[in-house]
Amino acid sequence: MAAADPVTIHELAAAFAKGAASPVAVTEAYLARIEARDARLGAYLTVTGDEARAAARTSEARHRAGRPLSPLDGAPIALKDVFCTRGVRTTCGSRILERYVPPYDATMVARLRAAGAVILGKTNMDEFAMGSSTEHSAFQLTRNPWDLARVPGGSSGGSAAAVAGGLAAGSFGTDTGGSVRQPAAFCGVVGFKPTYGRVSRYGLIAFASSLDHVAPFALDIHDTALLLGVVAGHDPLDATSVDAPVPDYVAALAEGVRGLRIGVPDEYFGEGLDAEIERAVRAAIDVLRGLGASVERVSLPTTSYGVATYYIVAPAEASSNLARYDGVKYGLRVPGKDLIDMVSRTRAAGFGAEVKRRVMLGTYALSTGYYDAYYGQAQKVRTLVRRDFERVFERVDVLAAPTTPGVAFRHGDKADPLAMYMNDVYTIPASMTGLPAISVPCGFNTGGLPIGLQLIGRTLDEATLLRAAHAYEQATPWHTRRPEFA
């Protein structure tokens, strides 16, 4: 690809409108790059070349007629293999769904198709979205485009690596405890978890229902606003989806940050935070101050309880959601002498070690005699975490913090489950409270690995977060850096 070629979705849309680029040629170029390079990256589990070419042809006809369906018409997009796609295998990174072919599209997939997006394929992930490195996929490793010896983060690692590595113009993942923001930070792209309920989860394979969010990855904030705008909005098929108007996110970008009040929570800069990340994030906050925002210190005292609370609530809900994998209706079946034996053998063979660990942890936390001490207590702590945020959002509009305590680690470096869980310490609080939170590239460490700035906002106030992130991005060069791999 030549340096002047469009790479972002908004650049592609402008080029399609002028006739300077064609959806068919762009799709072919992406498919060729995937063919040539994904063996090294491992971002995709399934590439849907024929479907992508067909979608690109109809997109091209609409552009020729001057009637594109949306700014996403013809944009090559990748989807985490957690979203059901009609007629296309959807594995959730698990042996138990290795041959599962959904008979329907998730609502967000249907909305992307209706907007004219070209779906390139399904990306690798930690099995059932449980993990922070994509190493828990039953199928393959995914590598970080900035350093192939390192993880892309997880659980949506394939979708993050695809965008960072130039193998998709944009993508979607899911964020339950940080599974989009953390890989976005590790891969140097934008990842945006909107408010809980903002995007329908109909057709999303469930992990932890009170925490699962659909979230986009993009190369810049303009693209992030476009991607979120297409999938956001009420869906009668998802009873947890919020019935609230969706603003024009792109229009909100121009407003800048003058007068915006930014809070910096002390607890996000404590023990365990890498010094280079702290420097980069504090420098980013200075940039926002220089652009006219006011900055003040705030406190979220329950922050340190987030990980423990999350690792009760999420496994408990997972143990219930994953009870459906019983070898009867779909998925793997291993024969047994009776029904219970068949179910137990099927689940033993179909689930990997991390999924078994969480199902066991969740079943234990919900079992007789332990429910109040674990699940009941965790739900109460969740209330305390929410109150912390409510208190600070009376004084500030946006919180600024690191996305992760460290940069991308090497494959195999976090073999201890608890060490892996601690990686989510800064992303879990916004998951448990359902608050919108975005990770924006804010620099590199001395080893050339990306660093993420996290901005957290008020419920349903995605527009303010995008506005702040856009002002920061436009004042800094980070979003224009690409790894050598791309």
Partner: protein, 95 residues
Amino acid sequence: MISREDVEHVARLARLALSDAEVERMREQLSGILAYIDTLRALDTAGVEPTSHAVPLVNVMRDDEPRPCLSQDEALANAPDRSDVFFRVPRIIED
């Protein structure tokens, strides 16, 4: 600290056939994770209402009207074993 018997009991509840080696590894790992999670017990939550969802939700109702849905063949297409229009499963009731 949890025992092997605890692990085996929970595995039965969770319908997971674990090997002996898995039971031992699970006992060690779950004990470590639970020891960490126990830090929560130190927090005073007397009188605090539990939060079950991130945003307040009320029951969502709709009219009870028939709508298009999957055909029997579509619904059965992924079944590991079927018989006519049924999912087939191993014996449930003893002779």
